[in-house]
Each structure stands twice: as structure tokens, then as C-alpha cells.
């Protein structure tokens, strides 16, 4: 299928385009940055005193906020893909023989880059309000790896959803879905405190192992099999997203 072949030049140009557009979309950039910071402040100062996690709440909650920030920002990819579909850009690119994978890769890579930057900024705010990660460079690298993998999976899933949505507004709905997924997980409260039916879900959804990996790796505590589980979830979702978009793209644009 010619739609699925990637030419490095095409992918590189599409990535450059999406990075440039992201950089200029100040509104979206601010939202994806401010929202997690506000939520973090809200959790730490408003709920933090009442939540018992066995450590300073800011220490407990930061990995969750990082992931919330990453997920929310990456979900925005759906809106950019749907916009390209509705304004005729994808049709123009197709008549120029630019393949689906190059087009989507542009959006996904820009999303990963954009959200990597905002994650660093959120982390900076977290440190300013008292988050003290352990000094363990290798574990930091591993944490960055887990987060990047998560970003990649969510971004590509969003791109697939963007191919499904009929309007940018509908695509925007997807960001809320991703936004809420961290709540029934170990992101903000320990899963042990949840009712058993919710706990069953929380323990077996993809966000929890990602959070547990980040938390353990940043605070230098034992992580067990969490990173392996997180990687398996992310790679699985990534494969699913790529398969979905390969199926959806020809349908949507033909």
C-alpha cells in the first residue's frame, strides 16, 4: 500500500511543519502547560493535607501530574489531525503522494517534543513547591524513557482518533477521556483506598504501571515489574494505534 510507505524526506518535512505549528499555537501550548500546573497546586495545597499517602503529598502526586500533563497534551494530536482532514490539507498532501505514515508521524513527533518540553516545565514548578526527587541519573533516564514511550503511545492513539472524528470539536472530546484516565489509578491516591470494584480497574489499567514506574524511578524506591508492565502496555497501545490508523486512513480520505 503506497499510503503506508514512509519517505524520510517527507516525514522530516512533516515533522518540521508540525513542530512549527505547535510552537505558534500559543493557546493550546498554554492550556497544556497551565492546566497540569493548576491541578498540581490544587492537589498539593487543597487536597494534600487531607490525603494520607505515607510521604509528603507533593512527593506522591508529582508523577501523577507529570502523566496527566503528558496525556492531556498528547491527546491534542487528535484535534490537529482532524483539522488537517477537514481543511483539505491531507487531500493536498495525498495528491502530492505524501504517505499516511509521514503525515501522522509529523503530528506524533511534534506532540512528543511539545509535551517533553512542557513536562520539564511542570517538573520545574514541582521542584519549586517542594518536590525532591532522588539523585539517580540512570533512573531519571529510565523515567524519561517510560514517559516518552507513554507520550508516543497516547499521541499515536490520538492521531488514530483524529482520523475517526468528523470535526475538530469531536476530536477535542478525546482529550477529556485521556484526561480522566489518570484519576482511577494510583496517580492521586493509593489504590488501596478505593472500593474493590474500582481498585480492580485501577490496578489493571495502563496508567497505573506508568505512574508506579515514574514514582519509583524518580524517588529511587523499588519498582518491581512496573516498568516492564508499563512498556508492554505502551508498546501494545502503540501497535494498536498504528494498526487502527492504517485501517482508518484510507477509509477516511477515499
Amino acid at each position: 500500500m503506497s499510503e503506508l510507505t514512509v519517505r524520510p524526506m517527507h516525514a522530516a518535512v512533516m515533522i518540521g511543519r508540525c513542530v512549527r505549528l505547535s510552537r505558534r499555537n500559543i493557546d493550546a501550548l498554554l492550556t497544556s502547560l497551565l492546566l497540569p500546573v493548576i491541578l498540581m497546586l490544587l492537589f498539593v495545597y487543597l487536597f494534600g493535607g487531607a490525603i494520607e499517602t505515607g510521604s509528603a503529598y507533593v512527593t506522591y502526586v508529582v508523577p501523577g501530574v507529570l502523566l496527566l500533563c503528558a496525556g492531556f497534551g498528547a491527546a491534542g494530536t487528535a484535534v490537529s489531525v482532524t483539522t488537517d482532514l477537514t481543511n483539505g490539507m491531507i487531500e493536498r498532501l495525498r495528491t502530492m503522494d505524501v504517505g499516511a505514515t509521514s503525515i501522522l508521524a509529523g503530528h506524533v513527533v511534534a506532540s512528543v517534543a511539545r509535551n517533553a518540553v512542557s513536562t520539564v516545565l511542570v517538573l520545574g514548578v514541582a521542584v519549586a513547591i517542594g518536590f525532591r526527587p532522588a539523585v539517580a541519573p540512570l533512573r531519571w533516564l529510565a523515567a524519561a524513557g517510560v514517559l516518552l514511550l507513554f507520550l508516543l503511545a497516547v499521541s499515536w492513539l490520538s492521531a488514530a482518533f483524529g482520523l475517526l472524528a468528523r470535526t475538530p470539536e469531536a476530536a477535542n472530546g478525546y482529550t477529556f477521556l485521556v484526561m480522566f484516565l489518570p484519576y482511577p489509578s494510583s496517580a492521586f491516591v493509593p489504590v488501596e483506598t478505593m472500593p474493590s470494584w474500582l481498585r480492580g480497574f485501577a490496578e489493571h489499567q495502563p496508567v497505573t504501571p506508568v505512574i508506579e514506574s515514574l514514582r519509583g524511578l524518580l524517588l529511587d524506591t523499588p519498582v518491581g515489574t512496573a516498568p516492564t508492565q508499563a512498556a508492554a502496555w505502551c508498546l501494545g497501545l502503540l501497535a494498536l494505534a498504528m494498526l487502527l490508523s492504517a485501517l482508518l486512513f484510507p477509509r477516511r480520505v477515499a
Binding site: 511543519r17 505549528l21 487531500e91 493536498r92 495525498r94 495528491t95 502530492m96 480520505v253 477515499a254
Partner: protein
């Protein structure tokens, strides 16, 4: 060029969306070079035809070739030979004019310095050099369409499809765009445009193909079509409806136009005095039914309504002139 394949060749092309038949055995041929118009009302099948030619929609049956390449089996080759400017200018609002064009030129296979040079040359040619560094979101409707046309030239295509290029533009921008489209053809490119504006087809196109209900109903130059379907007509205005009805009965199918609201009907004429006098005597022997007569030059409007005003018959006759 003269011996090469035609720019576009459609044979018995069919396409339906669900129960709705859009193209019903469309056969047509566009020779290389010049500006060609696909003229038709909304729903005649113009956009679907262009989308099939631009490899964006697959036909149900029949063949479509562009520059000698089959649009289904040789999609890649077709894409290398064509470009499409659609009904809405597909450009990035967040990029500047020069960034949009440079990006598209690179996608068309140019290296960065060559792409920048091509972008600059095109901006100059389309009178956008002053706005090159501004984001497209600040452009007027006419500027966007010009940039869109410039964008369709980055890959040096041999066939350009313009789908209703001036829809929604104010008259001045439309005028400007017409000049640009005329220049494209001057550069040796074959332009196939769709339009529902008769004036546009008349002004721009060397050849006009009239599409109706998914098939070709006539083709030729604007002048050919006017001669063949319109020529001159004598418009007669009657004192009352009874006179009009009697004249209509007397003339039968020689009536080319009816306008009951104005108590008028038209009949073909060559415009000479003896013929006009003879006609008047024939339809109004008592010399007091007709209150006014006018000899009208045919317009493309006349052609269009002669061709498409009547219900399409199953055995459509294609008039070649």
C-alpha cells in the same frame, strides 16, 4: 507535445455514493495544453470527476487516465504529473506564505535551497512577495486563493485541476485570479477547471465541456456552443397571454425560450431584415399581438439552459461541435 497522450481521458466512468449516481458513464477527452472548463450545476458531477482524476476517489468502473497514466493502477505516476487546488485553499494558517510554499516544494522533492528559490519565485509571480513573511491567517480571501494556486505549481505539474477556483470570491479578486489562471496556461500547463459560472467558462476556457446528471451533454469552444445551441434569437413580447399562447401553438418546437411572466417567447433568427419581417408576419398576421421585438445575441446562458433545462433522457445525445 502534440503526439503525446491527451492530458485527460475518461471512458465510461461511473461512480455512485450509495444509491446516488453521480457519474453515469462519463466519457471525455482533454487535449494537452490550454484551459478547459467543466461546466455544470451543483450535483452535475464536476467535483467527483476532478477527485477521481486527482486520485482522491476511486471510480466504480470505467477508466480514467491523466497524462497517459491510469488513476487507479498508476496512482504514483499520476500524482507526479498533477496538482489540485480545491474549493477551500488547503494551507496552514499558522505558517507564513513562504513557509507554506517551501514546505510543499520540499514535499515535491526539491532540496531546501531550491525549494526556497521556487517559493520566492512563485510568491513574486502571484503578487504575494510583500505578504510572503506574514502568516496566512492574516491573508484576504483573494490572497489565499492566489497562494493556493501558487502552491499547486511547486511541483511543476503538467496538468492542474482547479475545483471551483473562484467560488466565494468578490468580483475584484475573481478578476485577479482569472488573469493568473490565464498565465498558467501560457506556461504550457494543461488547466482543467470546474465552474458553475458561465461567465468564468466564457472568459477563461479554450474549450468547455457541459456536464449534466453525471454525463457530458456538449463540448466545444464558447463560440461553437453559442452557434450550435443559441445563435441569435428573436424575442417577441405579446400584448396578452392569449396572443402568447396562440403564437406558441403556431411555432411549436421552434420556440427556443419561453418567459411567460414577461409575456415573451423567442425563436431562432439570423438577424436579417427579411427573415425577421417574415417571422413577424407569420406569428402575428393581424399585426397587433406583438408589442415589442428584440434580436438577442446568444449567451452561454442560453446554451446552458438549452442543454440542461430539459430533463435528462436515458439515451443522452452528445453533441460534438
Amino acid at each position: 507535445m502534440a503526439n503525446g497522450p491527451p492530458a485527460v481521458e475518461l471512458v465510461d466512468l461511473r461512480k455512485s455514493f450509495g444509491d446516488h449516481v453521480v457519474l453515469d458513464g462519463l466519457t471525455l477527452r482533454v487535449p494537452t495544453g490550454g484551459v478547459h472548463a467543466l461546466l455544470g450545476q451543483n450535483g452535475a458531477g464536476k467535483t467527483t470527476t476532478v477527485r477521481i482524476l486527482a486520485t482522491l476517489t476511486r471510480p466504480d468502473s470505467g477508466t480514467a487516465r491523466v497524462a497517459g497514466h491510469d488513476v487507479v493502477r498508476q496512482r504514483r505516476r499520476v500524482r507526479r504529473a498533477i496538482s489540485l487546488a480545491g474549493q477551500h485553499a488547503a494551507l496552514d494558517d499558522g505558517q507564513t506564505g513562504v513557509e507554506n510554499l517551501t514546505m510543499l516544494a520540499r514535499l515535491a522533492g526539491l532540496r531546501a535551497p531550491a525549494a526556497r528559490a521556487r517559493a520566492a519565485a512563485l510568491l513574486d509571480r502571484f503578487d504575494l512577495a510583500d505578504a510572503a513573511g506574514r502568516r496566512v491567517v492574516t491573508y484576504s480571501g483573494g490572497m489565499r486563493r492566489r497562494l493556493d494556486l501558487a502552491a499547486s505549481l511547486v511541483g511543476a505539474p503538467s496538468v492542474i485541476f482547479l475545483d471551483e477556483p473562484t467560488t466565494g470570491l468578490d468580483p475584484r479578486s475573481r478578476q485577479g485570479l482569472w488573469e493568473v489562471i490565464g498565465e498558467l496556461a501560457g506556461a504550457g500547463v494543461t488547466v482543467l477547471l470546474t465552474t458553475q459560472y458561465l461567465e468564468e467558462a466564457d472568459r477563461l476556457a479554450d474549450r468547455i465541456m457541459v456536464l449534466h446528471d453525471g454525463g457530458l451533454v456538449a463540448e466545444g469552444t464558447a463560440l461553437d456552443l453559442k452557434r450550435r445551441f443559441g445563435a441569435q434569437r428573436l424575442e417577441l413580447t405579446w400584448r396578452d397571454a392569449a396572443g402568447l399562447a396562440a403564437a406558441a401553438r403556431r411555432l411549436g418546437d421552434r420556440v427556443t425560450h419561453r418567459d411567460p411572466a414577461r409575456l415573451a417567447l423567442s425563436v431562432a433568427t439570423d438577424g436579417t431584415a427579411p427573415q425577421v419581417r417574415g417571422l413577424l408576419d407569420e406569428v402575428d398576421p393581424d399585426r397587433h399581438g406583438v408589442v415589442r421585438f428584440t434580436v438577442r445575441e446568444a449567451t452561454l446562458d442560453d446554451v446552458f439552459f438549452t442543454l440542461t433545462g430539459r430533463p435528462a433522457s436515458p439515451e443522452r445525445e452528445v453533441a460534438r461541435v
